[in-house]
């Protein structure tokens, strides 16, 4: 294994990046929580999901975490009766995105928590390396 402290930083950094991307997707979902289609009967915004995976980074020789893919949530759309809406279908119902604000907010909080944890690991590892180098300094 390469220097374990260096590996820690790389792994935690990959965690930071993955959580950042996840936050971007959650923000997108939240922003489009009410984005309907443009034409009559068209589908609205579909909620996006994120899947993490552990991958071997060949160059560094460590298993880092990456977002494997950004998927689509296949759960059904919400519908609301609004016949005057431009996106209303024949029956007068408008299809609304399958985004639940509460779930997205909870997701956002969890993403933040994970991000902070990864950041803490990076800081601590750097501090451990600094302590080691410090041994050579001083009297």
């Amino acid at each position: 294994m390469i220097d374990p402290l260096q590996a820690s930083v790389q792994i935690a950094s990959s965690g930071l990046e993955a959580q950042s991307d996840r936050l971007r997707i959650v923000s997108e979902n939240l922003a489009n929580a009410n984005s309907t289609g443009r034409t009559a009967g068209a589908d609205p915004y579909r909620r996006k999901t994120v899947t993490f995976a552990s991958e071997m980074d060949r160059a560094a020789g460590v298993r880092v975490v990456k977002i494997k893919d950004i998927g689509i949530d296949r759960s059904p759309f919400r519908v609301e009766y609004e016949p005057n809406h431009p996106a209303a279908g024949q029956d007068g119902y408008v299809k609304l995105p399958n985004v639940n604000m509460l779930i997205e907010m909870a997701d956002m909080r969890e993403t933040n928590r994970s991000y902070e944890a990864n950041l803490q690991v990076v800081k601590q590892t750097r501090s451990m390396v600094a302590m080691t180098i410090d041994l050579l300094k001083g009297a």
Binding site: P4, Q6, T132, L136
Partner: protein, 106 residues
């Protein structure tokens, strides 16, 4: 420089007490006990210092190339510092003793 010191001392003989060396570097003393006498100890101390200095140098070069962990480098450099300090202390004692010997009335 260390090689020169050890060769000079071979000729001088048993003029310095080995107590100080024992306190500072028990490992060197233990391994030198096999070769009887003071010159054995001197050689060992000098060899120790040269060895760790070279190791420290190699580790530092590796660290600049990004190949080795900070811990390894720091350990190698600290080890080099310690053995060098011992060698310098012994050298000073020996030089002092040599000067005393040369001052002796014939």
């Amino acid at each position: 420089m260390l090689e020169a010191v050890s060769s000079i001392l071979k000729g001088i003989g048993n003029v310095v007490q080995t107590n100080d060396i024992a306190k500072a570097s028990p490992a060197a003393l233990r391994s030198a006990q096999a070769s009887a006498g003071f010159d054995g100890v001197m050689e060992q101390v000098a060899a120790d210092a040269i060895g760790t200095l070279k190791a420290g140098e190699a580790a530092s070069i590796s660290s600049i190339q990004g190949k080795v962990s900070a811990q390894r480098v720091v350990e190698a450099v600290m080890s080099a510092e310690q053995t060098l300090q011992v060698a310098v202390a012994v050298r000073d004692k020996v030089v002092q003793a040599y000067q005393e010997v040369t001052r002796m009335a014939i």
